[in-house]
């Protein structure tokens, strides 16, 4: 009997979370250690799942299937392939580093970690789902805890508003997608929610063209597609650090991934028909997001909008419907996930000490927090697509894919690289270099060991993928092949 690795990965967080609720509220230390243990287990298992994936065999591996509601053809069906294995790993990494970064949370850490872990289970569940009902099930579980996490532990100024806006936006998107999913289920006649059954269902062209926007855009809301992206910057900024890391680093990928799995893979004709629109909107994401980021004065908003821009690249990659673009998008999900987790971790560290995020009021941080500064610079270089880092490895195939499908988009999107370079260097210069303002001098405590470990892990991954793309690219490519086979492209 094989060890059900994926189920353990999926359910470990929520199990730990539920057990956590039984801890006495004051035992902060034990709570944190227990949470870290859970995160570690998830990380190790996700690493295992990632590295034991055999590309030679391909297809879905570590598959488990149990009957759930047989009357309706719903089963609990999980598996990893080239597209979701990196995302599972990403979740493990972000969860682990997020717990490390959250060591300092003093207000009800028990509830914090409990809700965070429920979120993590939802995320893991979506990534490995091979059953449509199951995907929706875990998707909603992944969205809801955001409300509490942001409203309770977030930035006092905007947290209530941002939390409600975020949650309502995401839910509207997901329920619209659910309606689409149900339509697919009934139209297929297969009486099964299994993604395989639905892939082979042979929906009519009109059906696909009608339902694709509902499903794709419903999920892509969480991916941050223009014009339904504006829950994201407020949500990012209002959230506490680890939640921002999760939100931008992982959750937005859940949206994009679900859009791929359910929208593109199940309704390929619809995808082809609507691709120009999606390309157009995603281009707006990329350029507009970068532009808006460059005029922000709040450090965290810069990062928030840069996420909107980079997720635009992911969606662009998907919309090319060719091997390069989809491969690039898959790598970009991983690379951007790690990068933005790093960014938000850094922002959190600066804010915790300076109690302001206004860029004009910051400066000279690299002298007192050199590791943090270097980590941010590395993240910045990734963000600019600098070769030698994972951002380049991800963005390059996306652009190649764009050349093959819509060259104009490639050229327009490329401008965002320059804009990004501009604002990233500006932010680095103003926040980390230069002179530290008087009122901050002497108040900046150094970061603790856990923070350092988290930064090193995240930076290291960005570098590793950058210099050795083989560690991820072939895997993602094999996953992209599966997508292509369904879409019928090349």
């Amino acid at each position: 009997m094989e060890v059900p690795i994926l189920s353990i990965v999926v359910f470990t967080p929520i199990l730990f979370g539920v057990v956590l609720f039984f801890f006495p509220a004051e035992r902060h230390r034990e709570i944190r250690i227990f949470a870290l243990a859970g995160a570690t287990i998830a990380l190790i298992l996700s690493l295992w799942a990632y590295f034991t994936y055999d590309q030679a065999i391909g297809g879905y591996q570590l598959v488990e299937r149990y009957s759930w509601v047989p009357r309706l053809g719903i089963s609990y069906h999980v598996g990893v392939d080239g597209m979701n294995a990196p995302l599972v790993l990403l979740t493990g990494i972000v969860m682990f580093t997020g717990v490390l970064i959250s060591w300092g949370i003093d207000d009800r850490p028990r509830e914090f970690f409990g809700f965070l872990f429920i979120l993590a289970t939802g995320v893991f569940g979506v990534f490995v789902s091979l059953d449509l009902f199951q995907l929706f099930f875990f998707y909603e579980i992944a969205v809801f805890p955001m409300y509490l996490l942001i409203a309770i532990w977030g930035w006092k100024v905007t947290r209530e508003y941002a939390a409600m806006k975020l949650t309502l936006y995401l839910f509207v998107g997901s329920v619209i997608a659910i309606v689409g999913g149900l339509a697919m289920y009934f139209a297929s006649g297969a009486h099964s929610f299994s993604l395989f059954a639905l892939e082979g269902a042979g929906f009519s062209v009109d059906f696909q063209r009608f339902w694709f926007p509902f499903v794709f855009f419903g999920f892509a809301v969480l991916g941050g597609i223009f014009p339904v992206h504006n829950w994201s910057p407020d949500g990012h900024v209002a959230a506490p650090t680890a939640v921002s890391m999760f939100h931008a680093g992982v959750l937005m990928k859940v949206g994009a991934f679900a859009a791929l799995r359910v929208g593109i893979m199940l309704l390929p004709e619809g995808a082809r028909f609507w691709a120009p629109l999606v390309l157009g909107l995603a281009t707006v994401n990329v350029v507009y997001g970068a532009f808006i980021a460059s005029i922000q004065t709040d450090f965290k908003y810069v990062i928030g909008f840069s996420s909107v821009s980079h997720m635009g690249l992911v969606i662009l990659g998907f919309a090319t419907l060719n091997l390069n673009g989809i491969t690039g998008a898959g790598i970009q999900m991983f690379s951007h996930g790690v990068m933005t987790a790093l960014f938000f971790a850094v922002v959190g560290m600066v804010y915790d000490r300076a109690h302001t995020r206004e860029i004009p009021k910051l400066g000279g941080f690299i002298k007192v927090m050199p590791l943090v500064g270097i980590a941010f610079i590395i993240g910045g270089l990734v963000s600019m697509g600098m070769p030698g880092f994972s951002g380049f490895v991800a963005e390059f195939p996306i652009f190649m894919g764009l050349w093959q499908s819509q060259p104009i988009v490639a050229i327009i999107a490329a401008f965002s690289i320059v804009i990004t370079a501009g604002y990233i260097m500006r932010v680095i210069g103003r926040v980390f270099f230069g002179e530290m303002p008087e009122e901050l001098k002497g108040h900046i405590t150094p970061i603790n060991t856990f923070d350092k470990i988290a930064l090193v892990i995240l930076s290291g991954i960005l570098l590793l993928v950058g210099v050795y793309p083989t560690i991820i690219a072939p895997l993602v490519e094999s996953g992209a092949q599966v997508v292509l086979a369904l879409v019928g492209g090349a």
Partner: protein, 484 residues
Amino acid sequence: MSIASFEPTTLLTVLPEILLLALAGIILVVDLASQRSRGLLLAWLTALGLTGILIIALLYGQPGENDVLIFGGMLRHDWTAFAFRVLFLFAAAMTALLSIDVEGVADRGEYYALLIVATLGMSLMASSADMIMLFLAIETTSIPLYILAGFMKGDDKSTESGLKYFLFGALTSAVMLYGFSLLYGFSGDTNIYRLSEAMRAGAVSPWLIGGMAVLVLVGFSFKISAAPFQFWAPDVYEGAPTPITSFISTASKAAGFAVLLRFMLAVFPAIEAEWVTLLAIIATATMTVGNVLAIPQTNIKRLLAYSSIAHAGYAMIGLVALSSFGTATVIFYLIGYVVTNITAFAVVILFARSAGSDEIVDYAGLSRRSPGLALVLLVALLSLGGMPPLAGFVAKFYVFAAAIESGWIWLAFVGVLNAIIGLYYYMTILKVVYLYRSEDENKPITIPRSYALVLMICVIAILAIGTLSAPWLDWSVNSALSLF
């Protein structure tokens, strides 16, 4: 559907009802016999008694292969009746436990007796196959509930609640009865299952049939608090003793649905398309009115009242789907909804015991006062909102699936968007509970054993229905089959 001749074994089919009657009597006797009021004893006795009857009903009350009409066609012994009966018994047992220590009601034997009688009436409602039986059952349910709503004599709101409930109920009952009488007039038969044939034979104009349906619907809509007959609910819910609110919002509503399902599907197949459209409109109005009006509420009982109205709307969508699966989803929805709503009201009762308030603002800091209770409230509200892995999610999912299967896409969209509105106000309550601080944070909330038992059972049920769902879906499907 043969009318079986009377055999002693038929009594077994109504064993639960008989036992209920006996239990009511026992309660009254115990109340008289005991020296001083023994609230605790009575409550536990009721609860245990009801549980016992529930077990017996589960074991012996299952219908056989065919659905039979018994007692001269008065009742129908089928899965629908069975499923609903179990539901009512469960709800009543929980209500009994929740009534312990509630001021003004707990130590009165009549309270529990009335509760049991109302349950008896509901059980009959679910199995009635004859219009006269149906009317009797409805009244048997309603009159005790009117009294129970106004039970707290000294409380103005309670009295108002009881009176309003009574007046409104009596009015709508009268209209419904008129509809029944017309039906009898045009068909010459009181048996529900023969009505439709008789009417066809008599070539009754569809307009007339429609008119009769509308009249009948008035009564049913009142019972399930559907628009436009929903506006008794907030006042009644707010004023009644909270355990009764819980009971009315769950069991009574479910009973109304049982009747609605059985009656509409059996009596009016001739104008199916028309009443289904009408119901779709009613469902839309109900959901929207319920959700939108819930938003500005400051009293949690009123908010839950409006939320209950909305839920009636969601459940109706399944009936609009007009399919066996659709009807099954209605029943499943009710199962999930009953368990969830009881949980929510249980928390309200517990909080009111310690804090003496039903205002939402006073719930601030509940998560620090009693993290466990806050969590239970979280589970209940999320289930009402339709979040996995809780019962509400699958319930809504199935209902919307049924709508889409039958082609009611726009209704499904209306439903999902309404669900979002619902989430908004549920989340706002949770925000108050988890985020806002108050000076009373350090005063703990006592949770007596009986309440803890209820909470535990209900939370486990919510989770079980939400994650496993298959067993209950099977029940619902079987029940639906017997209605089709």
